[in-house]
């Protein structure tokens, strides 16, 4: 692939030639090694976690696939979600943050050792989390905090160490201003520490539905205070640098930041509309769900306005299409989430497969696409090795078409489920009517899974030649 033009000019090229990464960025080998190891492990968890998800999707169509307790739906579902949240997305986001924060602070990472300790803590936590969940040991069936505290404590410690590491890096920066990316990234770490501690502490969530109040707060802020600000912060770095132009409006980013913090925190209870938790919390959540219009429009609008007039560069890049798709999904799922919070629409969509479509469009279409954009934007510049552009394109299109084939049928089927319940039909109708939509979901899921195998291959192709050589090259350059 080093010199493909001779071959491709013979016939019609199958792919549009993409721009090559510029010169390898001058970064210490420690940094490359640390970041690449995080990315490699996150790719492993992605493949493993979506293999589980794929298997679960098949079970809706063939419930008798197996009758083994460790593989049953109720045990594997939290395995799927927890692996992808903590093993894949969190780890990949932290990897990119470990590059972006030092870079924008114009200094080295405060401590590589801490970076490695965090790495081991996070992966150990996910590993043992998977084992216990498959064995049927979970934390009260509380969604996304299913891993019991002694194991999730490792993840929390890893995160605290990441936050400390990044804070010290920012505190000792060689520039006056704290770049907006660092606002989002470090804030996400701090918020999530508070979030996880609040979710697991005993005392105020012991009896009855007191835990439900905390659950609404936790499951929503997991997205709103961790994944969203992390990837937005990363995008505030990658988008301008890859487009080679400044962000459209710095102030819009600041506005989105503060409104994100205040509005998003209030809306967790919209997962429990019409439930027996206090009515005022539900109403407050719905009101602030409308308020989310502000940070979402400011954030997504800011990115799109930055891209305006640069569509040619986006088409010529293999990381920017991922970022464009991620930004579009960000806007779409956020507005969709606001609609789902309204009591009138919540009636139709709550408890149905519509919510599954929504969660995949947000965690996958939005978060994962922005993460991939960052990875393809950064890693070739760190290691000096390009992935084949054909396989990057295959990853992009399979993942994009896959998630649409996955979620659009579920949105249609979910709506029909809700309407069936409202019409007072027998419950089993709402199960049988879903069959074709579940088949489509399995098809879309398969495309997504294939794209992840390709991604893992691309990560392999981008690997540093060898740590030894990397060190030599760096020394040569610095001398």
């Amino acid at each position: 692939m080093n010199n493909p033009s001779a071959v491709q000019s013979v016939g019609r090229p199958f792919t549009v030639e993409k721009a090559k990464a510029e010169e390898r960025i001058d970064t210490s080998p420690e940094s490359v090694k640390l970041i690449f190891t995080y990315i490699a492990f996150s790719a492993f968890w992605l493949v493993f976690g979506t293999l589980v998800g794929e298997y679960l999707g098949f079970k809706f169509v063939w419930p008798e696939l197996d009758s083994i307790s460790w593989f049953s739906f109720g045990r594997l579902r939290p395995v799927h979600t927890n692996i992808l949240f903590w093993g894949f997305l969190s780890q990949a986001m932290i990897a990119l943050a470990l590059y972006v924060v030092p870079r924008t602070s114009q200094r080295e990472l405060y401590s590589y050792k801490f970076g490695w300790v965090s790495f081991w803590l996070i992966n150990t936590s996910v590993f043992f989390g998977v084992i216990t969940l498959m064995a049927g040991i979970n934390n009260g069936g509380q969604e996304y905090r299913e891993i019991i505290w002694p194991i999730f404590l490792l993840f929390a410690l890893g995160l605290i160490l990441v936050a400390y590491n990044l804070y010290k890096t920012i505190a000792d920066r060689n520039v006056k201003e704290i770049y907006i990316s660092n606002w989002y990234i470090l804030a996400a770490c701090l918020w999530t520490i508070v979030l996880v501690v609040t979710a697991y502490l005993p005392g105020y969530q012991e009896d009855g539905i007191s835990q439900t109040v905390v659950q609404g707060y936790y499951m929503h802020q997991g997205v709103g205070q961790w994944f969203t600000p992390m990837v937005l912060g990363l995008t505030y770095y990658f988008l301008p640098i890859l487009l080679n132009k400044p962000i459209y409006s710095y102030s819009l980013g600041v506005l989105a930041f503060w409104t994100q913090m205040v509005f998003y925190t209030m809306i967790g209870a919209h997962h429990f509309v019409f439930s027996p938790i206090p009515w005022w919390i539900q109403t407050l959540a719905i009101v602030f769900s409308v308020g989310m219009f502000v940070p979402v429009t400011a954030g997504a609008g800011n990115f799109l306005l930055t891209m305006r007039g640069k569509w040619r560069s986006i088409a010529r890049s293999y990381s920017l299409p991922f970022i464009l798709a991620g930004v579009l999904f960000y806007a779409i799922v956020s507005y969709q989430g606001t609609l789902e919070a309204f009591r009138s629409l919540n009636k139709v969509w709550h408890f149905t497969n519509f919510t599954i479509a929504h969660s995949h469009m947000s965690m996958y279409g939005f978060v994962a696409f922005l993460v991939w954009g960052g990875i393809y934007g950064l890693i070739p510049r760190l290691t000096g090795k390009e992935p084949p552009q054909f396989t990057v394109g295959a990853h992009f299109w399979l993942a994009l078409i896959g998630v649409l084939v996955y979620s659009v049928p579920l949105m249609i089927g979910g709506t029909l489920q809700g309407l069936s319940w409202m019409a007072g039909e027998a419950f089993i109708e709402s199960v049988t009517l879903m069959t074709p939509y579940w088949v489509w979901r399995a098809v879309g899921g398969t495309m997504m899974f294939l794209s992840h195998l390709i991604f893992a291959y691309n990560v392999w192709k981008m690997r540093p030649d060898s740590w030894q050589r990397l060190r030599q090259v760096t020394e040569l350059q610095t001398n």
């Binding site: 419930p63 069936g141 019991i148 007191s210 419950f427």
Partner: protein, 337 residues
């Protein structure tokens, strides 16, 4: 240092951190504390037994909550599942142990039916065991997983073991299925799921029930086929043929086709247990529907049964049901007579 978020990291991240702590207190910790303080079981509810609590823990450990809600919303479309859920319905649930937090039973998806009243809708042990061993043995279209690891297959079951007999094609070729202690606990928990009246005085509660039955009969379109599918089909099956030696067939059955509908009406109103039909003993328990269905709904479902699958018996009206109810009350006829 200047008070500038862009230049002063201590100020920026201090506000970010402590601001979020404050918001967390307002929206999560304080409301949760308040809900916990208000936590009180409904007066008519019973404490959970050890076995039921163990069953709840298995319910959580198997992840049943990912597909089943226990949350009836105060909206019309949820009326089939019971009265709107109240905080008191969950008041007896608390932390499992030091390792695991309080079970979340409200649920977020309804891939399977709501379970708030499964103990009332389906009080038969036999049905639950068959359903857990293989849900498709009783509900053909079900996509629920089978739970064979809650059962054992043995050559000679010991005395006192709970044996489970499965229909042709659903059980093992050799040996007898017996329920483990886990299956017994889970079934005990499922059978305990039954909403109790919101207030302590049965008379008032019954009054409210009667009022709401009248109100809903007026409001709802009564459809015998839907009532049958929701309440009867899990045992008697969609084709009315039941399951051999467990749940009797309704096709051509005397109960269903005889001219005098009194036996049929009574079976629906008060339930049946341990009956012998055509010389065959049936082990399943049929629950009473007298409190779940209005007279009009009972009449509708009875007429559905009397005129389907080749049955051709005279239909009845809601008045006939009311007459049987009143007559039985006057003559103090016991439900299982």
């Amino acid at each position: 240092m200047k008070l500038n978020f862009h230049k002063n990291h201590k100020l920026l991240f201090g506000v970010v951190f402590w601001g979020f702590v404050a918001l967390t207190l307002i929206i999560a910790v304080l409301p949760a504390t308040w809900v916990q303080q208000q936590n009180e079981p409904l007066p008519a509810s019973e404490p959970m037994t050890e076995l039921q609590r163990k069953g709840l823990n298995i319910f959580i450990s198997e992840g049943c909550v990912y597909c089943h809600t226990q949350q009836v919303r105060p909206i019309e479309m949820d009326e089939n599942w019971g009265r709107p859920s109240a905080p008191g319905d969950y008041a007896r649930i608390n932390r499992q142990d030091v390792w695991r937090q309080t079970p979340a039973v409200l649920g977020s998806e309804r891939t399977g039916p709501d379970l708030s009243n499964i103990g009332k809708r389906q009080p038969s042990d036999v049905w639950h065991y068959m359903h857990l061993y293989n849900p498709r043995s009783v509900v053909k279209e079900s996509i629920m997983p089978s739970y064979p690891w809650l059962f054992e297959v043995v050559e000679n079951p010991s005395d006192g073991a709970t044996t489970v007999s499965m229909p042709e094609g659903y059980g093992p070729k050799n040996g007898t299925i017996i329920a483990t202690r886990e299956a017994e606990a889970l079934v005990a928990y499922l059978k305990s799921l039954s909403q109790v009246p919101m207030d302590a005085w049965p008379s008032a509660a019954q009054q409210a029930k009667a009022d709401s039955a009248v109100a809903s009969a007026v409001k709802k379109k009564v459809n015998g086929a839907t009532i049958y599918a929701n309440n009867c089909a899990s045992c008697h099956q969609n084709n009315g043929q039941g399951i051999q030696s467990t749940f009797p067939s309704l096709v051509g059955a005397a109960y269903v086709t005889e001219k005098d509908p009194t036996r049929h009406i009574r079976a629906v109103l008060y339930g049946l247990q341990g009956v012998t039909i055509d010389g065959k003993d049936y082990t399943g328990v049929m629950q009473p529907f007298g409190e779940l269905l209005s007279d009009e709904e009972v009449a509708a479902v009875i007429n559905y049964e009397r005129t389907n699958w080749g049955n051709d018996a005279p239909t009845i009206t809601a008045e006939d049901v009311t007459k049987v109810r009143n007559n039985d009350e006057l003559n103090k006829i016991q439900p299982n007579e």
